[in-house]
Amino acid sequence: MQSADRILVLGIGNILWADEGFGVRVVEALDRDFALPAHVGVMDGGTQGLYLLPHIENLHALIIVDAIDYGLAPGSFRILRGADVPAFLGAHKMSLHQTGFQDVLATAQLMERCPRDLVLIGVQPAVLDDYGGGLTDIVAARVQEAVDAVLAELRDRHGIEARRRDAAQGGLVDPRLSREAYENGRPSAEMACRIGDPRVLGFGL
């Protein structure tokens, strides 16, 4: 597990906030369709902040997938490397007590255990403020592209070929929270109110 060539593909974000769940949904799809060698981990990091620190320390490479606010058109896709990564993650509050993932990386740096190779595969979200919502169509359309980008990253930079599974495999994300179960089981707007503070939520009241 702690071997020097260890790589982690980490999806982060909160699945309960619409496009915020992008990173988690990408690793869910990756793990469903592809098998990877034992030294390459795939993790649903959710919003676990500091809890993720032990998983990223001393990695050979960390591949982060996340919804990132670049101020671009919704659905825009970007890949960033090295020192550019923390700067972009800074726009994005995920949490341990609002510890951004930027802070988790800074902490790893303070501990002198930063991952050696850092890449961020991100998409510009369309909607973040729909509590209980799933991915919007424009962002959902980018999931496969992000999976392909992770595969290309593993292949081109690390010489690792993923193997397509013979049959889809579930289980990385709890089946109750799988994208299908989560999005199809959502209560209707009549059943459960979806509006809130216009300063934070984008809808008029």
Binding site: N14, L16, L50, A91, H97, R176, P187
Partner: protein, 604 residues
């Protein structure tokens, strides 16, 4: 408005300069705070507002009650396990499910691991920066730091001058790299920081040690919860089989080797809270002996549901017993019943919701979440850019929970005041010992009743509770081993797993002593599906706005009468609010496109 006397004993004056802090940083979620200062920069009115609305019914209505824990585990990054535990307790209560003893003990160990972890991370990673100046640590003399360590925490092995010099060099390199990162956005020049550089260096050093240790401790969750992050829970027990002779392969049942690993981690946690965390809080507090502000409601009204049963199913054996204390009378503890519709009620006169008749409170089983966003006549700014709130009208997305109409503080300090008043020997001994050491270092002679209701007391209670949890876990572990050795391997009761065994309608409540205070989930089940689901979380109690009678909540009360060194640097406000470990929206919102984290502070 001039001066207003609140029924709960505060004198509010909003005539002075208004200071707005938005957002309050280093907390979970988005929170805003406004205060009025008098001519001496003393806080004479405080307004706390939650700016996010999250109704769990929004995601849970119509879903399978057995799945609710998995959804609530995703609300935020810190409350994961306690929401999940509260949820399964609520469903089990509704359906009359009794869990096996092993399941109880395993859940206890998981809950206390979370408590210990949350408290340690809160103190070192978030709250310490309200007392400790990491930049100042660069000026420390490592030899003098070593001497301080040996005086404040003599049982901690890492105390040599060379050790502190190494850490100082590492810190220097980090600061010089220009990425102050976790230490940025501090008010490091503010005279509200009182520690000598040596104490600063000692605290920063222990911050690094805490970071290293916390990740070992959470391996307990990985083993007992099957995975981490996002450990598994289960209605009816725990999803964790026991086979003492089993192998160590992934997903294999719990065996002796794993249990021994857990025992070793508990022991490490125990040593750290005893030899490092508690001594650090006492040492830091002694340098702030003249700063006993921030008590607020803890001096009068505190509440907890009680938790940590020694005997499964018998609330009278709670090792942190619950109840309500009113008016600072520690000789009388009122029992609390979360199912009694007259006990816990939520009010919305000052919240952006409506019940039709807002003068009434609603019990959570009958909870209604119908937004009504309107600013009061004295608010300044617009609906989307508020400059100043009107606390005379609706001003927060947080409802106002009350016990029989009384505003109460919740959290580790509330639990410790209750346990002290209940006469829990372990807690009384801890408090007496800690105060003795504080008084010796500070040259004071404060009693528990003088010292505990304060910002420092809140921070101390959290440290003591972390250690009590580690101590209780050692007992839970012994009990678990004894029970397994007696031949009991049951970890789940699945008699009522099948919804066809359920009544057509049921309602239940689950409560947990969560890190930030008493947490309750109230559920109604109809035809096998969730009909209504309401959470009253600790920060709803502490961060609540005013109620129909005009009582202020714990955050607002705690800021009252605190002097500020510099109105545009809200060190004192942040220090006291952080001492509650607030958790608001639990969301992961984009706050601003440029990633600006520094609180905007406006002085008007």
């Amino acid at each position: 408005m001039g001066i207003i006397q609140t029924p709960n004993g505060f004198s509010l004056d909003n005539s002075g300069r208004r200071v707005v802090v938005d957002p309050v940083t280093r907390i979970e979620g988005h929170m805003r705070c406004e205060v009025n200062l008098d001519e001496n920069n003393v806080i004479r009115n405080a307004v706390s507002t939650g700016t996010m609305w999250r109704g769990l019914e929004v995601i849970l209505k119509g879903r399978d009650p057995r799945d609710a824990w998995a959804f609530v585990e995703r609300i935020c990054g810190v409350c994961t396990g306690c929401h999940a535990l509260t949820s399964v307790r609520a469903v089990e209560d509704a359906l009359g499910i009794k869990i096996p003893k092993n399941a109880h003990l395993i859940r206890e160990i998981m809950a206390k691991t979370l408590q210990w972890h949350d408290h340690v991370v809160h103190f070192y990673h978030l709250h310490a920066l309200d007392w400790v100046n990491p930049v100042n640590a660069l000026k420390a003399d490592p030899k003098a730091t070593s001497e301080l360590q040996q005086m404040a925490g003599p049982n901690h092995p890492n105390s040599s001058p060379g050790y502190f010099r190494d850490v100082q060099n590492r810190l220097k390199k980090f600061v010089e790299s220009g990425q102050l990162g976790i230490f940025k956005n501090g008010y490091w020049g503010n005279p509200a920081y009182k520690l000598p550089p040596e104490a600063d260096l000692m605290a920063v050093t222990h911050y690094l040690e805490a970071l290293d240790l916390q990740k070992e401790i959470v391996k307990i969750h990985t083993i007992l919860g099957g995975k981490n992050p996002h450990p598994n829970y289960m209605v009816g027990g725990v999803p964790c089989a026991i086979n003492m002779e089993g192998d160590m392969s992934a997903g294999a049942p719990l065996n002796m080797e794993r249990l021994n690993f857990i025992r070793a981690r508990i022991q490490e946690a125990h040593e750290f809270s005893k030899n490092v965390y508690i001594p650090d809080v006492i040492a830091i507090a002694s340098f702030y002996k003249g700063w006993l502000y921030g008590g607020g409601l803890s001096a009068t009204n505190v509440m907890d549901y009680g938790d940590y049963e020694s005997v499964l199913g018998d609330k009278s054996t709670d090792r942190l017993p619950g109840g309500v204390i009113l008016n600072g009378n520690w000789d009388e503890i009122h029992p609390i019943d979360p199912r009694d519709p007259t006990h816990v009620q939520e009010f919305v006169t000052h919240s952006w919701y409506t019940y039709g008749d807002d003068s009434k409170g609603l019990h959570p089983w009958d909870g209604v979440t119908e937004p009504k966003y309107e600013l009061g006549p004295n608010a300044k700014g617009t609906r989307t850019r508020i400059e100043e709130l009107d606390e005379g009208a609706k001003y927060s997305w947080i409802k106002a929970p009350r016990w029989k109409g009384h505003a109460c503080e919740v959290g580790p300090l509330a639990r410790y005041i209750l346990a002290y008043a209940h006469g829990v020997t372990y807690v009384k001994d801890q408090v007496t010992d800690a105060l003795g050491r504080f008084n010796a270092l500070a040259g004071t002679s404060l009693t528990a009743k003088q010292a505990l209701p304060s910002t420092i007391g809140r921070t101390l209670a959290r440290a003591l509770e972390a250690h009590y949890c580690a101590d209780m876990m050692l007992n839970d572990w012994d009990d678990l081993i004894a029970n397994i050795k007696a031949g009991d391997f049951a970890t789940a009761n699945v008699e009522k797993w099948d919804p066809r065994t359920w009544p057509s309608e049921a309602k239940g409540v689950g409560t947990v002593a969560a890190p930030r205070g008493g947490l309750g989930h109230w559920i109604r089940i109809k035809d096998g599906r969730i009909e209504n689901y309401q959470c009253v979380v600790p920060t709803t109690w502490n961060g609540s706005p005013r109620d129909p009678a005009g009582n202020i909540g714990a955050f607002e009360a705690s800021l009252m009468n605190t002097p500020m060194e510099r109105p545009d640097e809200p060190v004192e406000i942040l220090r006291t609010l952080h001492s509650f470990d607030p958790c608001l929206a639990c969301s992961t919102h984009v706050m601003s496109p440029d990633g600006e984290e520094l609180a905007r502070v406006q002085v008007r």
